[in-house]
């Protein structure tokens, strides 16, 4: 497997403060990697190190096959970055902004104009190419900034809070565009606070607070933390059926709240039919059977040690067995 990003013990200190500690990570090429963590966790510092903007204190890393520290110029050529704020030249037009950066990335004047046109058309800004950026909405500026990060067709793209402050419609455009980029096989390193968005677009998630707490696919994170489960909605109070279910050995854990049973299983696909038949035979009237879906936010809160307020989620902690 080819890795787009490999870090080994990556550490960055600012005086006494350790912003990033011993980050070891491998991100396969073509992956959308969600880098999640609270404010001040060191996410931006990590991005800046990986984009060869600031030096690392310890450890080593390779980005797109180039060694950080030794081949920084090459890394800058093959990576693109969307910073937290769009950072555009307000007095220049959209196309002037893009052509300037494209030229700095080494594109010829003709190619720079072609690339600017390509991405402005793709992001639906071509008609406004000759307007000054100062008159653009926040969403439009973000689109221009995304186009800027892509002009030189980078192998690895760092997106720092790409939907921050955008209205839902603009955020949707950005998210859909990230999916397009993923389909093109680019590696995307995405930092965000928006967990549903990360859940939607990321293949791999890393939960980070100075140290990397966990990295896995969103599905595996859920299963490893909360297990596989089934939610059964019945007519009437669900608690009365807990006793009935005690006889089923394959149930690992369960709880009930109002009209819903929360049942932890090893293999829901195989065990759900048995579970449902048992309940029906015992007289339960079943309204719905659905997978117990934990949100990425629950995973995030669990890993970062935040208190759970939702009764339904930490099934293992409200066990009735």
């Amino acid at each position: 497997m080819t890795y787009a990003i490999e870090t080994n013990g990556l550490t960055r200190r600012f005086g006494e403060l350790t912003a990033v500690e011993a980050l070891s990570l491998t991100i396969p090429a073509g992956t959308v990697f969600g880098f999640l963590g609270p404010n001040g966790a060191g996410k931006t510092t990590t991005v800046r190190m990986l984009a060869a903007l600031i030096a690392l204190s310890e450890g080593d890393a390779r980005v797109a096959g180039y060694t950080l520290g030794r081949e920084n110029q090459q890394i800058r050529r093959v990576t693109g970055i969307l910073t937290e704020t769009p950072g555009l030249y307000e007095r220049l037009t959209a196309v002037e902004n893009l052509v300037f950066f494209a030229r700095l990335y080494g594109l010829s004047p003709q190619r720079a104009i072609e690339q600017a046109e390509h991405y402005l058309r793709l992001l639906d800004l071509w008609e406004r190419r000759n307007e000054r950026v100062s008159g653009f909405s926040k969403g439009m500026r973000q689109k221009v900034a995304i186009a800027r990060a892509l002009l030189h067709e980078p192998q690895v793209l760092f997106l720092d809070e790409p939907t921050s402050g955008l209205d839902p419609e603009a955020a949707r455009v950005v998210l859909d565009f990230i999916k397009v980029l993923r389909n093109e096989g680019r590696t995307i390193f995405l930092t965000t606070h928006n967990l549903p968005e990360a859940d939607e677009v990321c293949d791999l998630i890393g939960i980070f607070r100075t140290r990397l707490l966990r990295v896995d696919t969103p599905h595996n994170l859920r299963v490893s933390l909360f297990g596989n489960g089934t939610r059964v909605r019945v007519v009437g109070e669900a608690t009365i059926w807990l006793e009935t279910l005690h006889t089923l050995d394959f149930i690992r854990d369960m709880s009930a709240h109002d009209d819903t049973l929360f049942i932890l299983l090893d293999d829901p696909d195989a065990q759900n039919p048995l579970l449902v038949r048992h309940l029906v035979e015992a007289g339960a009237q079943i309204r719905a059977v659905e997978p117990m879906a934990h949100s990425l936010e629950e995973v995030y809160r669990e890993l970062l040690g935040a208190k759970q307020s939702n009764h339904q989620m930490p099934l293992a902690r409200v066990s009735s067995r």
Partner: protein, 260 residues
């Protein structure tokens, strides 16, 4: 080299959009450039001069000048020092907007993420501030030389005004002062977020100009070639120090982690 030209082009695109900034530079520049020429012209006219007993020949340290000649030499020397002010004024204003402007618009990080080398960025930004001011200063200096040739009331007046010392001021002091002004602006830019504050903080660069202007006015200083070269040497050392400081502060790492 190509990146420097790309940066210069972008800076020019931005500057030409700022009419207020351009007018703020050009109008004082024109006034200061035309004033010495106008004064040379006025003092060339055969008008009554009443110096109330002041012996300007002593002030300009040239014996045997007529009162009119002494007045013209004094006026020409005094106000031609304005040309040493231009390279401090203009680069400070342009550099402050060019560098502090990048900070306030948050464009530095994406810019530093490109493969541009940091020295290319620094040279590009410095040149956009230096080139117009040095070219204009030298052009105005040339105009002043022509005006002096036209309006000097005698040959010895011309020689006294367009002296080797003044040529050192024009040709050596001005680029050195401009470079110092830009380097100071880079250093100051690392600590402030307002171009006007940056200009205020770098205003001390006008001290050599003020020392010369008032020194000559009060008769404490007579600009000799030795003095002009001596000051040029000091400016050269100051320039080396300020450029060293600017290059230390203008690094990717420093800009992203320590600039306020």
């Amino acid at each position: 080299m190509q990146n420097i030209l790309i940066i210069l082009h972008k800076e020019w695109l931005e500057i030409r959009q700022q009419r207020g900034l351009l007018l703020g530079i050009i109008i004082p520049f024109l006034v200061l450039a035309l004033l010495p020429i106008a004064l040379l012209y006025v003092t060339s006219l055969n008008i009554a001069v009443n110096l109330h007993g002041i012996n300007l020949s002593k002030v300009v340290a040239i014996a045997d000048l007529s009162p009119r000649e002494a007045l013209q030499v004094f006026t020409g020397r005094e106000f031609s020092t304005f040309y040493a002010l231009f390279p401090v004024m203009m680069p400070s204003v342009i550099a402050s907007y060019s560098i502090v402007g990048e900070k306030t618009s948050h464009t530095l990080e994406p810019l530093l993420a490109t493969p541009v080398r940091i020295w290319e960025l620094l040279v590009g930004k410095s040149l956009i501030a230096l080139l117009p001011s040095i070219i204009l200063t030298w052009f105005c200096g040339l105009c002043f030389v022509v005006a002096a040739a036209l309006f000097s009331i005698s040959g010895r007046v011309f020689v006294a005004i367009i002296s080797p010392a003044w040529l050192v001021v024009l040709l050596l002091w001005t680029p050195l002062l401009a470079l110092i002004a830009v380097a100071v602006m880079v250093a100051v830019s690392s600590r402030v977020n307002d171009p006007r504050t940056a200009q205020q903080m770098s205003a001390w660069v006008v001290i050599p100009f003020l020392a010369l202007f008032y020194g000559q006015l009060l008769g404490f200083v007579s600009l000799s070639i030795v003095l002009a070269l001596g000051v040029a040497l000091i400016l050269l050392i100051l320039m080396a120090l300020t450029i060293w400081l600017a290059t230390r502060l203008f690094q990717r790492e420093v800009i992203l982690t320590r600039w306020k």
